[in-house]
């Protein structure tokens, strides 16, 4: 049985209010039998320095990515991972993390590839929990492993590959580049203060709008209210519920945050995350690239 929804008024405005929980809600529900709290951070050791009592850790890189192929794990590995964290197919999974939930959103998106139904984000993430002086612990949670079924990963609805992006371009589909303006224009290929991840060319995919992910986040890392999101994405970009949108960034983590906003907060139905993102596009042979801050146009062949 799923945990009850958080009835915070701000969430009620969103298209899928049950995808978010507040820190108050989580504090009250810690220890609920059907609830598993997951921490996903950029820093692989941050969980070990202290985490929400009972929370388990899932690392975006070492747990969710295949160690050899540039791809996510498959159903068998996901079943082992989820089961080992005490997650069964009906668990309510609440994910939180550092950096305004970038990596938490990424983990949520990967859970969605496997069709895990009840997966939510903690609004404001790790920083808000700590800023409010709530309890953290270094105690390892006492997890009873459970059986998680082998669910087939579906890469169709919410994931885009390079070829999908090319088709999408030819069809005049919308693209959102959620990187910093410097990455978008081609002044640099990495986020400011981030490691060089090896893209050979700089710039953006023709016609992509540049809406840095952080536009959707408030100062405290929570998601902005619906009216603000509507102003950015509906009025600002002319998107609506039926828009086919592909979001991308550098490796697909910041665009998971935007994917979450477009899909679950605004309720758009055709949003895909291009996880190959700039580290693939910027090194691929014979794909179109635009430099400078103008969007540029794509001429379909």
């Amino acid at each position: 049985m799923a945990a009850e929804a958080d009835t915070t008024p701000k969430f009620a405005e969103y298209a899928h209010p049950n995808r978010l929980v507040s820190t108050e809600w989580l504090a009250e529900h810690l220890g609920d039998t059907d609830l598993v709290v997951v921490e996903s951070d950029e820093d692989v050791l941050l969980y070990e320095t202290g985490h929400i009592p009972g929370a388990v850790k899932i690392d975006w890189h070492t747990d969710l990515n295949d160690p050899v192929t540039r791809d996510y794990i498959f159903g068998e590995e996901f079943a082992v991972l989820a089961g080992s964290r005490g997650i069964d197919r009906n668990s309510t999974v609440v994910i939180y993390g550092d950096k305004s939930n970038w990596w938490a959103a990424y983990t949520l998106w990967v859970f969605s590839l496997f069709g895990h139904e009840d997966v939510r984000l903690l609004d404001g993430g790790r920083d808000k929990w700590i800023a409010e002086g709530r309890e953290i612990t270094t105690d390892q949670p006492d997890v009873t492993p459970v059986e998680y079924p082998i669910a087939e990963r579906s890469d169709v609805e919410i994931r885009a590959f390079k070829d999908d992006v090319l088709e999408h371009l030819d069809a005049g589909g919308k693209l959102i580049d959620v990187r910093s303006p410097e990455e978008y224009s081609g002044e640099r290929t990495t986020a400011p203060a981030y490691p060089e991840e090896g893209a050979l060319r700089a710039g953006h995919i023709p016609s992509a709008h540049n809406v840095p992910w952080a536009k959707a986040a408030a100062e405290d890392g929570t998601f902005k209210p619906l009216a603000d999101l509507n102003a950015i994405y509906r009025e600002g970009l002319g998107l609506d519920d039926s828009s086919d949108v592909i979001a991308y960034c550098r490796i697909g983590e910041r665009s998971s945050h935007t994917w979450f906003v477009l899909t679950h907060l605004l309720g758009f139905e055709g949003v895909r995350n291009y996880d190959g993102s700039w580290t693939e596009w910027g090194s691929a042979v014979r794909v179109p690239i635009v430099q400078g801050s103008d969007r540029g146009e794509h001429v379909a062949k």
């Binding site: 820093d43 070990e48 890189h61 070492t62 203060a193 060089e196």
Partner: protein, 154 residues
Amino acid sequence: MPLSDSTPNAELHPALAEIRDGFLELGQKDRLLLLLEFSNELPELPGRYGEHPDLFEKVVECQSPVFIFVEVDENQIVHLYATAPQEAPTTRGFASILAQGLAGLTAEEVLAVPDDYPQMLGLTQAVSPLRIRGMTAMLARTKRQVREKTASVI
């Protein structure tokens, strides 16, 4: 000017070899915990530098803000100072390994440290290759500062 100061098969300095062996004898999970121990041991900056953030060089290759400053004393001994936020334990751990491993080494010995020392610690799987790059950059910047500082002395 050669691309690297390190000779491929040079003997690793005992202090660095000891740190490496400490990691390699552990399983993957425990390696992460050892890195956390290093992270907790990163020394506070000496008071005389705490007031001088301008002296520090930012390691932009690291995912979290980390700043390093290298001092070469009159005996040609290298002192590496580093500062990184508590919310960046992995980066702090890398800085602490270098600060401890290079402690007491001469400028010449530091320049002889293999550039790929971070890859020898067996952390690639536990931490991910991407994250290890930050430490490689930290070592490269340390060596560059040593080179600059010894050049002006000699």
